[in-house]
């Protein structure tokens, strides 16, 4: 049954600890690479060392004779697949040893399968390829003029609202600047890992993934199998951040290897292999133009993005997306164009679009505020969007004004002296900055199953994933809330394509999609139990009306009498009781309300003028994310997002070598993310106002919004501290040192 009860639930008692905490702390959470079916062999991926060309020949003889080696696969001997290229949904441009062409440096071009990992790795180093190299295109900046429109259909269209050019003439002040963001690599702690084995024509795959159903489809298509022949399992994920939302080459390659050798094969990527063949956030250059009238109200906004793309597949980082809806303005135009490069394919990375777009837009607003001699917060309030200005639709809910106010108060923003360089602490310049955070609220159809066991246990399952965000917790908690049973009786299961289908764990939609499905299943359970007991002479409800029965505190109770019975008793008499529930987005949203989450971020930094080093001293943020479904996991997501935002602002950059097309700093010693000392006190508050137009539980996703706004707030704080505008992220010491101060007039 499709259902979406729009009755608001009362505020729940959220589970105080993560459902899966114990398993994780005990080391009992089994991740993909930890599955060891009997006789598992190890595969190692060989990657190209040129960015573009053709493999002429390969010498595998030394490798084949090396100790422990079972098989070496290259494009010259790999099994030919029924379809050379696979289309989305889940799969991207993948390299499955079907052609000798090399499309980027680091592309998978071979596989060594051996008895141990060490043997496979060593033998890989003995394989030599001869290439016919071609001239690659690797210099983004020098080809900006050749940027073209995206080819792929999933891309945001060029948005143009209002009267366009005419509007600019009405602007009293026009501000224009260019910002840029670097390539960034996801780097979840757990690398990609796949274990595959076949029993006849049936394929089982343990995979670290954000989308078990997507992998299933990809594998079925790749090997021309009926869908039901593929079983994908993923009980735990050690972080994904978007790079595990697609099935990259290694997933089918592991299955191919297992088929060839007739044994289970384990293929785990190492850290270096995480840089290139499994996606990254594209580089962007963003031109922003803002026009305001005499009151500081926008008359026109233009945000034009040029990004890098792999020549073999377009992926759009929609950095201008939020600009279409964030501030009230009648004339907004945004565009996304791309520069072809001979590099691996980019992909969704935590808050794709907003993460890279808000630093630019929010810096621009700050610059404009200074130009207007207006408080940056005031500029945002003056341009507060009551409705979505791009879509011209109402929001399901928006309490951003309250968020600004609460965060500003907690931060002490009213004490701001806007003069750059006006605050000092010893050798350090102190600066304050603020920005708006935003991320769309997404939701997809999802299913869940409930099984009430004769021993009183309740299994709740959904084919979703828990990428560390708390899906287990939300599922268990929903059962606790709906049925009133103790959490110790709940057995939550996910990450398995044998369970009812759920969407990709991306776009911050898992809680908003799976929570309602579990809630629907709980309603089904009530219905099923009621139907059973009214005809059951052994039940106190015998002869009652099904409509008069409900589940409360683990009992089936009557609303008309004092009759009640533990639900476990019913299962004892009738045997295991199974029900399913499904939920899909509200009609309101489908009909076209605009659903987004909101936040206000304030940051304080200290800058050492002598070295250019920046340290974030505190971050204060308040979010409107609908109902906070679970405090522990929710606050953790927001704080983690803010830490990511600090990394975006100050640290993260994959440095592409312009000659060879490899990421040069491809390890965690050189690819910097914040360490403990970079992370200050983070004060996160949540308004916690349910958005029941969006989901019956009132929650919107929170996995990504935490990143947005942060880098902008930090960049603005750096300006306030130093008088220097760093428009090219990350804000590293060299840039702070070498960037001249803005002239006073600007």
């Amino acid at each position: 049954m499709m259902q979406d009860a729009s009755t608001p639930t009362q505020h729940p008692q959220s589970l105080p600890t993560r459902y899966d905490a114990r398993q994780k702390v005990m080391g009992k959470a089994t991740y993909a690479a930890e599955f060891n079916p009997p006789e598992t062999l190890y595969a190692w991926m060989i990657q190209s060392t040129i960015p573009k060309g053709t493999i002429l020949s390969v010498d595998t003889s030394a490798a084949e004779h090396a100790s422990g080696v079972v098989k070496v696969l290259t494009c010259f001997n790999a099994p030919k697949l029924p379809k050379p290229k696979i289309q989305p949904p889940a799969t991207r441009f993948v390299s499955l040893l079907q052609t000798p062409e090399v499309h980027y440096n680091g592309e998978p071009i071979g596989l060594v399968i051996a008895k141990t990992l060490a043997e496979a790795q060593y033998a890989s180093s003995l394989v030599t390829f001869k290439y016919q190299a071609e001239k690659p295109q690797l210099d983004f900046e020098h080809h900006l003029a050749e940027a073209r429109m995206p080819k792929r259909a999933n891309t945001p269209p060029k948005e143009d609202h209002g009267e366009k050019e005419e509007a600019w003439k009405r602007a009293v002040t026009v501000f224009e600047q260019t910002y840029s963001t670097p390539f960034q690599t996801h780097n979840p702690l757990e690398p990609h890992a796949t274990v595959a084995f076949w029993v006849g024509e049936k394929l089982t795959v343990y995979n670290s993934t954000q989308y078990v159903s997507g992998d299933k489809q990809t594998l079925a298509k790749t090997f021309a199998l009926p869908l039901e022949n593929v079983h994908v399992i993923c009980p735990y994920v050690g972080g994904g951040f978007g790079c595990k939302g697609s099935s990259w080459s290694h997933v089918p390659l592991a299955a191919m290897a297992a088929k060839v050798v007739g044994k289970p094969v384990k293929l785990v990527l190492d850290r270096q292999q995480m840089f290139g063949p499994v996606g990254y956030r594209p580089r962007t250059v963003q031109k922003i133009k803002l026009g305001v009238d005499g009151d500081g109200k926008f008359v026109a906004i233009k945000h034009d993005v040029i990004m890098s793309t792999a020549r073999v597949e377009d992926f759009v980082e929609p950095s201008a997306k939020q600009t279409d809806m964030l501030y009230a303005c009648k004339n907004i135009s945004t565009s996304h164009k791309m520069v072809d490069m001979d590099i691996g394919v980019g992909t969704f990375q935590r808050a794709p679009g907003e993460a890279s777009g808000t630093p630019a837009l929010e810096s621009a607003l700050d610059e404009l505020a200074y130009k207007l001699k207006m408080d940056p917060l005031e500029l945002r309030l003056r341009n507060y969007a009551e409705i979505d200005p791009g879509k011209q639709k109402r929001f399901t809910a928006k309490h951003l004004r309250e968020a600004y106010q609460q965060a500003a108060e907690r931060f002490g923003w009213s004490k701001l002296n806007p003069e750059p360089g006006s605050m000092r602490d010893g050798n350090k310049l102190i600066g304050w900055g603020m920005a708006t955070a935003t991320y769309p609220a997404n939701r997809s159809a999802a299913g869940a199953v409930l099984r009430l066991m004769p021993d009183g246990k309740i299994m709740v399952g959904s084919g979703t994933q828990d990428i560390g965000t708390g899906t287990y917790t939300v599922m268990a908690q929903t059962v606790v809330e709906e049925l009133g049973v103790d959490v110790s009786r709940v057995d939550a299961k996910l990450g398995d394509t044998d369970l009812p289908k759920a969407p990709v764990s991306g776009g911050s939609q898992s809680t908003a999609s799976v929570g309602p499905a579990v809630k629907a299943a709980c309603a089904q359970l009530k219905l099923k139990l009621a139907t059973l007991v009214v005809d059951d002479a052994a039940s106190p409800h015998h002869g009652a009306q099904t409509g008069d029965l409900e589940i409360k505190d683990g009992f089936l109770v009557s609303t008309k009498s004092s009759a009640h019975e533990p639900i476990a008793e019913i299962a004892k008499r009738h045997g295991e009781i199974e029900v399913k529930g499904e939920a899909e987005p509200n009609e309101d949203v489908k009909k076209g309300m605009s659903a987004h989450s909101w936040g206000a971020v304030f940051a304080e930094v200290e800058v050492d003028e002598s070295s250019g080093m920046v340290k974030v001293r505190r971050v204060v943020a308040t979010y409107d994310i609908g109902r906070l479904i679970n405090k522990t996991t929710g606050t953790n997501q927001l704080q983690g997002g803010i830490v990511w935002g600090i990394g975006f602002a100050l640290h993260e950059e994959s440095a592409l070598d312009k000659v060879y097309g490899r990421i040069s700093n491809e390890n965690l010693a050189e690819y910097h993310v914040p360490v403990n000392r970079d992370v200050p006190e983070i004060d996160v508050t949540v308004l916690d106002i349910p958005d029941t137009k969006f989901t019956p539980q009132g929650g919107r996703g929170i996995g990504e919004i935490g990143i947005t706004g942060v880098a902008g707030a930090i960049a603005n704080a750096v300006f306030h501290a130093t008088g220097k505008r760093i428009r090219h992220f990350p804000i590293t010491p060299d840039k702070v040192l070498m960037t001249p101060k803005e002239s006073a007039e600007a």
């Binding site: 070598d657 312009k658 060879y660 360490v675 000392r677």
Partner: protein, 331 residues
């Protein structure tokens, strides 16, 4: 990683004997650098000679002036005598790597750690004279943000990444080594080399020699009251230096009696110039004096596409480091 043999030696003689017998063997200290490079196929020793149990090399003695080659970086940094007499060394060590790494890293291994040049560490880059003599230098046209601005050659622009070495250079340590023909002492200034035409050779240590100790001159303890190790890096901790400065002052009233100055992150070896130190002697300890020393030290510096900023950063950092050294211990 290549297959390799492993052997363990229990005394210095056996260590020297074992390494002299096999030109493809390497000593294994904490392994935090060597094992990484083996995993990445950069180093391919046929045998690892584990020296971590060699007798008598894990002690700090003589008031902190005599340091065994097997003393772990954490132990050295936190040794009471070292903290008291050579706080500069302690600060430099503590600014490096992470607690876990410092718990493993040895004094000998730290002296010998190899460059972090990306092109050296990733064998998929074909051009690296240090890794493959004659193959070229990919860093020259590549992402050379962390590279050298002083003492480099057209063959190699790599830097020595160590923090400890910079402090040792400023304090004018000596490296005690033992080979088949006996023992010898190498001044720290001569221990690390400039790349020249043979960037594959990092140090003047011979293959068959074992580092046994690092000795600090007792006069260096006179810098104890006024020393500072300043490390400029991309994040607050756990990052190699963009530039670093080891600064020490011996004061007589307001006047500088002696100065110690070396820089890290700028060259293939810790960068020290006696002239820069001498120029400060007899001068007032102020920004002008420090800045003049910086100019001398940085004389002839040359940047590349991504690292020119280091010149200004280095100069600023010399001034800042001395200012903090002047404030003294409590800074």
């Amino acid at each position: 990683m290549n297959p390799f043999a492993y052997e363990r030696v229990m005394d210095d003689k056996a260590a020297v004997h074992a390494i002299a017998a096999n030109k493809d063997a390497k000593f294994l200290g904490g392994g935090t650098n060597l094992i990484d490079l083996m995993k990445d196929n950069v180093e391919h020793p046929s045998t690892l000679i584990d020296i971590t149990r060699v007798q008598g090399l894990a002690e700090v003695s003589n008031g902190g002036a005599m340091i065994g080659a097997l003393v772990r970086n954490s132990d050295l940094a936190n040794h009471a005598d070292v903290r008291k007499n050579y706080p500069l060394l302690s600060m430099a060590l503590l600014s490096g790597a992470s607690p876990q790494l410092r718990n493993l890293a040895t004094t000998g291994g730290n002296l010998m750690q190899r460059t972090r040049c990306y092109y050296f560490m990733d064998t998929a880059f074909p051009a690296c004279n240090k890794r493959k003599p004659g193959s070229g230098c990919a860093a020259l046209t590549g992402f050379n943000r962390i590279h050298a601005i002083l003492g480099q050659s057209e063959e190699c622009i790599a830097t020595n990444p160590s923090d400890m070495n910079v402090a040792l250079a400023a304090l004018q340590a000596e490296v005690h080594v033992e080979g088949p023909k006996g023992k010898r002492t190498i001044p720290i200034a001569e221990f690390h080399r400039l790349p020249g035409k043979t960037p594959q050779i990092d140090t003047t240590l011979k293959h068959e020699e074992l580092i046994t100790h690092v000795a600090l001159p007792s006069s260096a303890s006179e810098f104890a009251t006024h020393s500072y190790y300043l490390k400029v890096r991309d994040r607050q901790s756990y990052a190699f230096a963009l530039v670093s400065v080891a600064a020490g002052l011996m004061m007589e009233g307001d006047t500088i009696k002696r100065a110690a100055l070396a820089m890290g992150g700028v060259a293939h070896k810790p960068w020290r110039k006696k002239e820069a130190e001498d120029a400060m002697v007899g001068k007032q300890a102020n920004a002008q004096t420090f800045s003049a020393a910086a100019e001398i030290l940085l004389h002839g510096a040359k940047g590349y596409e991504h690292n020119s900023f280091k010149i200004e950063m280095a100069k600023n950092s010399v001034v800042r480091a001395f200012s903090l050294a002047l404030v003294g211990r409590t800074a």
